[in-house]
Amino acid sequence: MIVGERKPIEEIVEMIKGYKRVLNVGCGGCTSICLVGGQKEVDILNAELRKACKAENLSIEIDAFTIERQCNADFFSELDPMIDDYDAVLSMACGAGVQFVAERYPGKPVFPALNTVFVGVDREIGWYEENCRTCGECVLGETGGICPVTRCAKGLFNGPCGGTTVDGKCEVNSDVPCAWYEIYERLKQQDRLENILAVKIAREWENQTQRSLIQEAYKKRYAKER
C-alpha cells in the first residue's frame, strides 16, 4: 500500500486561498486504507478548512466527493460532470492520483492535500512502516525477505557496515534494527548464509527515469500504440 500523511492545514489554505469554489476529492484506494485520504478524512479536512478560512476572513466554498480510485480513469466518470462547477480541485490521493486528476482536467488547478511518503505495511491501526523502494530488481529472495535497499540507511548490497551496534541496531537510529544484522540472523536460522557470502556486484539502477510497464499478456494489444 502507498502511505501518505496530511499536509499542514496552513499549507493547504495557502494553496486554495485565491479560489471561490473548491472540490476536495477523496480516494477510496490506498490513502483511504491508511486513514488519510478517504471520505471520512475529506470531511474532516473540509471542516478544518472552513474553520481556518473563517478565521482568515476567506470566503471559499468547499465541497466533497470521493471516488473509488484516482489512479484509474474509469472512476472519473462520476467526477467529470461536476468539475465545471469548481475553479480548483484538492486531491487526497497519493502523488500518482493527484497527477492523474490534473491530467484529466488540464484547465483546472489541482492541489495535493497529502504528502506521499512510502510503500509499506500496517504495523498497527494508524501505524505504518516503509518496506519497499520499488527499485525494480527485487533481491528479497537472497536476503531472507528483508530489503537492504529500503531498510539499510546506506542501501548496502554487501552489508553490514561497521556501524552496527552491540544490540544489532543501526548506527543512524538506535530504535531501528540494522537490516543486515537481521538478514544475517534470518539466513543463519535458515542455514542459507551462502546467499550473502559472494560479492554482490554493482547493480544497474532501473529506477532513474520514469518507468512504464505492460504485462506480458498485453504486449500484443499495445504494440501499435508504442
Binding site: 540507511a153 546506506k154 542501501g155 548496502l156 548490497f157 554487501n158 552489508g159 553490514p160 557496515c161 561497521g162 556501524g163 552496527t164 551496534t165 552491540v166 544490540d167 544489532g168 548506527e171 543512524v172 540494522c178 544484522y181 544475517y184 540472523e185 548464509l193 551462502e194 557470502l197 559472494a198 560479492v199 554482490k200 556486484i201 554493482a202 539502477w205
Partner: protein, 318 residues
C-alpha cells in the same frame, strides 16, 4: 562455507612505498591527516611535515564524519608535494560511479598510488544531515571496480580504459561491530573483491581483536591481504568516554577509562600514548598483523614521539 585459501598475487600492483614495505615483509606504519575546513593549505603542509619520514603513507580522509572539508584528492596532492606518500580515501556517500572513476584516474595521473575504499559515515552524522546520500555502489563494489580498472583495464561498464590506473587497493574492516561472527566473512568478501590491504577500525578491545585475527588466520585471509591494525591514542578521560558512547562501531573497555582516570589530568595524554604503544608492541608480534594504522586525530605533531616510543623508527628504505 569457507573461502578457498589462495596465494597472494606476488606482482607489484602500484609501486607505492606502502606496497613495497608490505611486500618486503616489513612492519608497515601509516598515519592519518584530516583536511582543513577551508583552503588553509599551510595547515595541511604543517601536519604533513610532522609525518614525513615517520610513516610509510598517510591516509587523507574524505569528508570524514560527513563534514565538508577540502577534497581528499586535492589534499593528497599537497601532501605528495611535501614528499609524503598519500593514501587517498574515497567514500561511496558523495559520488556516483562516474565521479568515482574519473577521480581515480585523476589521482593516479598525479602520482597517487594508494587508495582506501569506504562506504562512508552516514550523512545524518555530518554538517549537512539532510543531504542526499549517493551510495550508488557500496564499498565492496567500489573495491571490485578499482580492481577491474587496474587489472582488466576497463571501466565498470566493460569499456576499455586508455591507460589503466595503478593503485594499491585498501579497504576498512571493523572487527567490533555486530554480528561479530560474520565480520570475518565480510573481510573475506573485501579480499575477494580485490582488497590488497586492510586498515581496521580503532582497536581497544584486544581480546576481541585477537579472536578476529585468529579467525582470519584460520581462514587463510591474512595470506591474501595485509592487515594493518588501527590505533587511536586516547588523549583524555573525556575522549575515551566519548569514543565509548558516541562513536558508532567502537568498543572501548572500561580498563582504558580506569587507567586514564588513575593519572592526573595533565598526564592523561601521556598515559594514552603509553597504552597505544603497548598495543603497537603487541601487534608487532601478532601473527597476521602486517602493520599499524595510527589515527592520531588532530595530534599529528605527537606522531613522531609515538613512533619513537613504539620503536617503529627508522622506517625501512624500500
Amino acid at each position: 562455507m569457507l573461502f578457498c585459501p589462495m596465494e597472494r598475487d606476488v606482482r607489484m600492483k602500484s609501486g607505492s612505498t606502502l606496497e613495497k614495505v608490505l611486500r618486503a615483509g616489513k612492519f608497515a606504519f601509516t598515519g592519518e591527516l584530516g583536511p582543513p575546513r577551508g583552503v588553509n593549505v599551510e595547515a595541511v603542509r604543517e601536519k604533513a611535515r610532522h609525518l614525513k619520514g615517520v610513516v610509510d603513507a598517510v591516509n587523507i580522509t574524505d569528508n570524514q564524519t560527513a563534514v565538508v572539508r577540502m577534497s581528499s584528492w586535492a589534499t593528497s596532492l599537497i601532501v605528495l608535494q611535501e614528499g609524503l606518500e598519500p593514501n587517498f580515501q574515497m567514500v561511496c556517500r558523495d559520488r556516483n560511479r562516474l565521479a568515482m572513476q574519473s577521480d581515480i584516474l585523476g589521482i593516479c595521473a598525479h602520482g597517487i598510488r594508494n587508495m582506501l575504499c569506504l562506504s562512508g559515515d552516514h550523512q545524518q552524522f555530518g554538517d549537512h544531515p539532510k543531504t542526499k546520500g549517493v551510495f550508488d555502489i557500496d564499498s565492496i563494489q567500489l573495491i571490485s571496480m578499482v580492481k577491474r580498472m587496474r587489472d582488466e583495464g576497463t571501466f565498470l561498464n566493460g569499456i576499455e580504459i586508455d591507460g589503466p590506473p595503478e593503485i594499491f587497493i585498501g579497504a576498512a574492516a571493523n572487527p567490533f561491530a555486530e554480528p561479530f561472527e560474520w565480520r570475518v566473512y565480510r573481510l573475506a568478501k573485501k579480499i575477494e573483491a580485490g582488497a590488497d590491504f586492510i586498515q581496521t577500525q580503532c582497536i581497544y578491545n584486544m581480546d576481541k581483536f585477537r579472536d578476529w585475527i585468529r579467525q582470519a588466520n584460520d581462514m587463510g585471509l591474512t595470506e591474501r591481504t595485509y592487515i594493518l591494525a588501527g590505533v587511536t591514542p586516547l588523549k583524555s578521560v573525556g575522549m575515551a568516554k566519548y569514543m565509548k558512547t558516541s562513536v558508532p562501531g567502537l568498543d572501548v573497555p572500561d580498563e582504558y577509562i580506569d587507567r586514564l582516570q588513575g593519572v592526573e589530568r595533565k598526564k592523561q595524554g601521556d598515559e594514552g600514548i603509553r597504552m597505544a604503544c603497548e598495543q603497537i608492541k603487541e601487534f608487532k608480534e601478532m601473527k597476521g598483523v602486517a602493520g599499524v594504522h595510527l589515527m592520531a586525530i588532530e595530534w599529528e605533531h605527537r606522531v613522531p614521539e609515538i613512533a619513537e616510543r613504539a620503536e617503529l623508527l627508522p622506517r625501512p628504505q624500500v
